[in-house]
């Protein structure tokens, strides 16, 4: 279960990443942020974001035409 949810629907690059970074900043290590986005570019971007920041991308998928991600704060 996610500890926090971020709805970035309708936002375009780089806003989903910036909002996610901000949300993670207010969370504890080990907590999970659930992100919903509509920007198709966010799929690759969240992979890259996780890789570079050390936060773990637990899941990435599509749900009802939107992109959903779970990121665990490192």
């Amino acid at each position: 279960m996610a500890d926090q949810e971020l709805d970035a629907s309708g936002l375009n690059c780089p806003l989903p990443i910036l909002r996610a970074k901000k949300a993670l900043g207010g969370m504890e290590a080990g907590q999970i942020l659930h992100i919903i986005a509509t920007d198709p570019g966010s799929v690759k971007d969240f992979e890259a974001f996780a890789k570079q920041t050390g936060n773990e991308l637990i899941s990435s998928g599509e749900e009802g035409g939107k992109f959903v991600f779970d990121i665990k704060k490192s």
Binding site: L11, N12, C13, P14, I17, L18, K21, F49, Q52, T53
Partner: protein, 160 residues
């Protein structure tokens, strides 16, 4: 030297479209943990105004997609008509808002929030007799040597 990655950007352009790359890249780099600095010089100084009045122009830009197929039936000379630039700017801003693209104002604030450092070229300020009171306050003023002090230690350095 710290092991934090660093990014330096030189922003030289003062149009609405070209205002995006420096602020998008700087804000994203900051989110990825880069220490980031933007050096604003020449027309790039327009991006530092408190009241941004950036515009786009189709003039001299054959790559700019025009709405309603205007590029097909509108001669280049038509784009010089008075009011054309204002109209294109209005249309571009509307398109960006519709597509969820952040405004330059917002991206600039996000950069500052993420502690991206802004340095304005003192020489250009003097050259164009610009009033620094028109600029946002989060700006330092310096020259080429100031830029290299940071740029010399960066992992990525971009000229935009």
């Amino acid at each position: 030297m710290s092991d934090e990655k660093k990014l330096a950007i030189i922003a030289t352009k003062g149009s609405l479209d070209w205002a995006y790359p420096p602020f998008i890249l700087a804000s994203t780099a900051a989110a990825l943990g880069y220490e980031t600095q933007i050096f604003f010089t020449f027309y790039g100084l327009q991006l530092l105004r408190k009241r941004l009045a950036l515009e786009v122009t189709p003039l001299g830009n054959p790559g700019m997609p025009m709405p309603m197929g205007m590029d097909k039936w509108f001669p280049v000379l038509g784009t010089t008509l008075p009011g054309m630039q204002a109209m294109m700017t209005m249309m571009m801003k509307k398109k960006m808002a519709d597509k969820g693209v952040a405004s330059i104002d917002d991206l600039r604030s996000l950069c500052l929030e993420a502690e991206v450092k802004f340095v304005a070229c003192q020489m250009t300020v003097d050259l164009f007799d610009m009033d620094t009171a028109d600029f946002i306050s989060d700006v330092e003023y310096g020259g080429a040597a100031t830029f290299f002090e940071f740029a010399g230690e960066t992992d990525i350095c971009l000229y935009i």
